[in-house]
Assembly symmetry: C2
Homo-oligomer: 127 residues x 2
DNA sequence: ATAGGTGCAAACAGTTTGCATGTAT
DNA sequence: ATACATGCAAACTGTTTGCACCTAT
């Protein structure tokens, strides 16, 4: 996949403009405003392709649908609001992770997810 | 749900005997050996009910299907083998998690998942 | 006897794929 | 011109639900 199509550009633009990782469906709805006829299959295919070319990163979440963010970021983790389901980027990391590793296992990655209420939802403005 | 049926007992037994959190499908296959006609819908319903009554806990994983473990355990996290997809319990936790919390957010839970190779898979015995 | 549990098949949600058509190169 | 991308619908996977039948109480 290398062609510069309006669909692909719209999807890329939506992700670039976002201030947090977006779900596939959010991207679909936002990109469809830019390219009216856009189909969901194209979104899935394009996200996969952007991921494979290395420009975006898929954030897998427990129990939730994947979110997508630009991959040119430093190592970080995420905070998930349990009310609005929005995901936010968290800076920094925790040290001494190796300490938890079971004996005989090799460590290839670690995932830290914080969950709670985001500022907006704490104020009862449920959105 | 309160009745003592062979299906429910088999499912409970499989989870109790396991040395690690099992997937719904693993539970289904193991319990079906104990109760031949067992249907997958019953497994889903029973797991949900055991969860609601508080005897088991659902481990949601990013990108993977849920695993189930007994809920009478201390706070812990998990290690996922990227080769055989088995999940292992990890003792202990990391301190200073609040430090990562974005300003204005409340913290209700945290999730730490380590990923890599388990001892068996490190030795090339791919299972 | 009867409320609740079970198995089956159909329904669902999210995601992927086959195919004919459209379009960037 | 043509190889690749798109939209649609069908297929797929994991999970849930409706319903007639079964069974623990």
């Amino acid at each position: 996949m290398k062609r510069k199509t309006s669909q692909r550009e719209a999807i890329r633009r939506v992700i670039i403009r976002a201030d947090r990782p977006l779900s596939t469906d959010e991207i679909f709805k936002m990109a469809r405003k830019l390219v009216p006829g856009l189909g969901i299959a194209t979104v899935y295919r394009t996200l996969k392709s952007l991921k494979e070319e290395g420009s975006i990163h898929e954030v897998d979440l427990p129990g939730q649908t994947s979110r997508w963010e630009l991959s040119d970021k430093d190592h970080h983790h995420h905070f998930l609001c349990r009310t609005c389901d929005k995901l936010f980027e968290i800076e920094g990391c925790l040290g001494d992770i190796d300490r938890l590793l079971p004996p005989g296992c090799s460590l290839e990655a670690h995932n830290i997810l914080l969950e709670g209420q985001c500022p907006d939802c704490l104020q009862g403005m449920d959105n």
